[in-house]
């Protein structure tokens, strides 16, 4: 017995070590970020704090005096820098090869004139992860803007497909995945060269497909109990792909490009009792009362370009300029004032710099910095169901950290260093 034990212990240790090595990603250095101002979001700001990062996670965060620097830590001196949780953009169309389809429904004249090839058919079951092609330039741009986590959704079609949540860590899509799939995405747009070519057609199409899903699930349930003696039901892949969302209440994101589409989305969500989220919503302030009552996850884009049909855009040049410069950028501020909770996204914005400009514009228009920060960190984490892992600087959470010289949303701010999954990004 005695003779075997050391071998056993060693063997067991070996197995443990081996398995640990197999599960861990690159085991890089442990980092100790010191002398920082820390904005954890989950608690009060630390004027001088320390953050310990080990194996992709925040091991500890606290006031400078209270945190012991581990022996194996590489010191990162954060003198003059502020640490924030990495920002989360809860709706983007990044890394897709084809350009996203235009968000506007086509007028009959546009439809008639279209010579372009018809749009490909919708595939609601399709996971966007399969077609991701991350580009370094794009990733760097977002990191430099402080965004470490993005939800990538497909950009084309009405039933666009299913999104994935990524940490912008490295250049390979696989290791980036935080959650896959996240939600089904729908957009109020039209098909080109085929049905539906009008917005009202799109709405009927969406409803019909959900009814088909309900019907399909019902029939299959009956068939399952009557395999003998019942003709097997036809297989409708589209309807079947929707069953989890209709029957099992997996999340469905509706892209609402103006206030009416918010109401139209809510009607459909109510009709099928969906687990619905609303996105884009850059006129949401015009439906603040309704949104307050409905309490659905609200993903508000910082893209302040007014919708084409808005009355602010069709009553002369003056009002249109005011809409673009003042009224629409104030969307988030107005929602905050009305007490409507929301997350902010970069949907429709070209790149990182555009995102930063847009946040600054929203703040200039009256959104408080605190609200802006929460809307880009803890709130989207909560909506996305990843609040245990992301959204604040807390021990145990994923080490997505942004180090900025100055306040994160200042025009002159420079983002000096970004950690994603505990790994410093190189840009």
């Amino acid at each position: 017995m005695r003779r075997f034990r050391p071998h056993l212990v060693l063997a067991l240790a070996g197995i443990v070590i081996a398995s640990a090595a197999a599960e861990g990603a690159d085991v890089g250095p442990t980092y100790a970020l010191i002398n920082l101002k820390v904005v954890p979001v989950s608690g009060p700001i630390l004027e001088k704090g320390t953050i310990i990062v080990r194996d992709g996670l925040v091991e500890a965060v606290g006031p400078a005096g209270k945190i012991t620097i581990p022996e194996d830590a590489e010191i990162v001196d954060g003198e003059g820098l502020t640490a924030y949780p990495g920002l989360i953009s809860a709706h983007t169309n990044l890394f897709l090869e084809e350009a996203a389809s235009p968000a506007r429904p086509q007028s009959p004249a546009e439809f008639a004139a279209a010579v372009a090839p018809p749009s490909p058919p919708d595939q609601p079951g399709h996971e966007v992860f399969d077609q991701l092609k991350p580009k370094k330039a794009s990733i760097d741009g977002f990191l430099k803007a402080g965004i470490t986590t993005v939800l990538v959704a497909p950009g084309r079609g009405i039933f666009q497909g299913q999104s994935v949540l990524l940490n912008l860590n490295g250049e390979e899509a696989g290791p980036m995945v935080v959650r896959n799939p996240v939600a089904l995405h729908l957009n109020f747009t039209t098909a080109r060269g085929s049905y539906p070519s009008s917005l009202m057609g799109t709405i009927a199409y969406i409803r019909q497909k959900f009814y088909d899903a309900v019907h399909g699930a019902t029939v299959r349930a009956v068939y399952a109990k009557n395999l003998k003696g019942m003709k097997r039901p036809a297989y409708d892949p589209f309807a079947m792909a929707l069953v989890p969302f209709v029957r099992d209440k997996r999340p469905v994101v509706f892209q609402c490009n103006n206030r009416e589409e918010i109401k139209r989305a809510l009607t459909i969500i109510e009709e099928f009792k969906l687990n619905g989220w609303l996105s884009h919503a850059n006129e949401a302030w015009r439906e603040a009362d309704l949104l307050k009552k409905t309490k659905l996850p609200l993903l508000v884009t910082l893209d302040a370009r007014p919708p084409r049909s808005s009355l602010y855009v069709n009553q002369g040049e003056e009002l249109r300029k005011k809409a673009e410069a003042e009224i629409y950028p104030a969307n988030a501020a107005n929602l905050a004032k009305s007490g409507v909770p929301f997350a902010l996204t970069s949907l429709g914005l070209a790149d990182g710099p555009a995102f930063l400009k847009a946040v600054q514009a929203a703040i200039k228009a009256g959104l408080s910095r605190e609200d802006a920060l929460r809307a880009l960190t803890i709130r989207p984490a909560e909506y996305l169901g990843v609040a245990a892992e992301l959204g604040t600087l807390e021990a145990g959470k994923i080490a997505n950290i942004v180090l900025a010289k100055g306040d994160l949303f200042d025009e002159k701010t420079e983002i000096v260093q970004v950690f994603v999954d505990g790994v410093p990004a190189k840009f």
Binding site: P102, A103, R104, N257, R305, P306, R308, V313, G316, E324
Partner: protein, 431 residues
């Protein structure tokens, strides 16, 4: 030799001009009407004597010669026939059927085309217009930069040449229309609109052509005298510009924005041309300049939305009143063929928005005549003028009014038209 033949033929077709007489032009007395001469005071109850296509006499007491045909007009109002200063009458039957539409030639410069040569004298729209009191119209070309030559016609005659009062009335130049800035969803101009072409550059091209035309004329004239010199080949663009370049044929320039109107005023002054402006939607903004320059304006259709939101929802309706207030001479148009009969209602609409009612009437009668260069011939009920007369049971600018008689060049005109013919056909048939 050839030219003589053409003239003789034209004279035959035209019956010697619009003041034709003969068995169709009896001596007529319109008796007892309330006469609205437009120039001068109304005559509450008077008589108009018509002979040889002209008004021989009118007044409270007119001595009637023997054998005169008397039209009893007590209770009716007598107006000069209305004049449409910009119309497509005779050049459009069914607007959506291209085969029936002939006013828009292809290409940018078409001074050589003449509407008189395409005018369908038996268009179904002409009797409809004249049975609403319109007796003359300027029939215009459109499209490109130089669209062609318009013709002023009476709305009655044996054929288009017989109807022509002025077979070549204006050379038409078109500057870009005002388009309101409709914004696309992403803050861009929607629909791929190109920025509007610059009026200055367009007029520079026209100036250039006119200069070329002058030199072309000079060379051809000189070479005609000296047969040893080579003569420039006939140029279909420059040749037809000769009379314009000489200042003999006036221009009608379609111009719309404030900026372009100013540019056009300057152009006309520099080139020393006679010109009338058409459209002038933002004319009210530069009314002073228009008055200074002495350029009269033909108003486009009031059945359009104002192109610039900031000008106000009623900008097009208020425009004529503001121009007249500033001293600009103004005429109305239908700018149509299928809705030509609506000419009086454009005038009334302007009167609802500030134009004096009397001025509104003048703008479809005497002012239109003056602007079109026939002020001595028509546009008012005065001795010596062509007998284009309308008898109506109410104010001629009102839609409830029935026109009871129309005379063109002294001839009573058939008031039946496509509408009445079809109604009669199916009334009898029953269904």
């Amino acid at each position: 030799m050839k030219r003589w033949t053409v003239l003789v033929l034209a004279a035959f077709l035209g019956g010697g001009g619009a003041s034709a007489q003969g068995p169709d032009s009896p001596v007529i007395a319109i008796r007892g009407a309330r006469i609205i001469p437009v120039v001068g005071e109304d005559i509450p109850e008077g008589t108009i004597l018509v002979r040889d296509g002209r008004i021989e006499a009118l007044g409270k007491d007119v001595v009637l010669p023997s054998g005169v045909e008397i039209i009893e007009a007590k209770g009716l109002l007598a107006y000069p026939g209305l004049i449409d200063a910009y119309a497509f009458l005779g050049l459009q039957e069914i607007t959506g059927v291209a085969a029936t539409v002939d006013h828009r030639e292809t290409g940018r410069f078409n001074p050589q085309v003449r509407t008189i040569e395409a005018l369908r004298f038996d268009s179904m729209h002409i009797p409809i217009a004249r049975s609403n009191g319109i007796t003359a119209a300027l029939v215009v070309p459109s499209g490109g930069i130089v669209s062609g030559r318009s013709a002023l016609i009476n709305l009655d005659g044996r054929n288009q040449r017989d109807m022509a009062v002025k077979p070549a009335a204006f050379l038409h130049v078109e500057l870009p229309a005002l388009r309101s800035g409709r914004v696309g969803a992403m803050g861009t101009r929607g629909g791929g609109e190109a920025p509007p072409a610059d009026a200055g550059r367009i007029l520079a091209e026209v100036r250039d052509l006119l200069n070329k035309a002058r030199f072309y004329e000079k060379r051809r004239a000189f070479a005609s005298k000296n047969t040893l010199l080579p003569k420039p080949m006939y140029d279909d663009t420059l040749g037809p510009l000769a009379d314009v370049a000489r200042g003999e044929l006036p221009l009608m320039i379609s111009v719309h924005s404030e900026k372009d109107i100013k540019t056009a005023i300057q152009f006309v002054a520099e080139e020393k041309l006679k010109a009338v402006f058409y459209g002038v939607e933002q004319g009210w903004k530069v009314a002073g300049e228009l008055k200074e320059a002495g350029i009269p304006c033909v108003i486009g259709s009031l059945y359009d939305m104002p192109p610039v939101w900031e000008d106000g929802y009623d900008a097009l309706f208020r425009n004529p009143g503001l121009l007249v207030k500033a001293g600009v001479r103004v005429a109305f148009s239908s700018s149509s063929a299928t809705a030509a009969k609506d000419l009086p209602y454009h005038a009334a609409k302007a009167a609802a928005f500030g134009l004096d009612k009397r001025d509104a009437l003048k703008a479809v009668t005497i002012d239109a005549a003056e602007i079109l260069g026939v002020g001595g011939l028509m546009g008012s009920l005065e001795k010596g003028k062509m007998a284009n007369i309308v008898l109506a049971d109410n104010d001629i600018l009102e839609p409830r009014t029935n026109v009871v008689h129309v005379f063109i060049a002294g001839r009573p005109v058939d008031l039946s038209n496509r509408y009445t013919e079809l109604l009669d056909k199916f009334k009898k048939k029953g269904s």
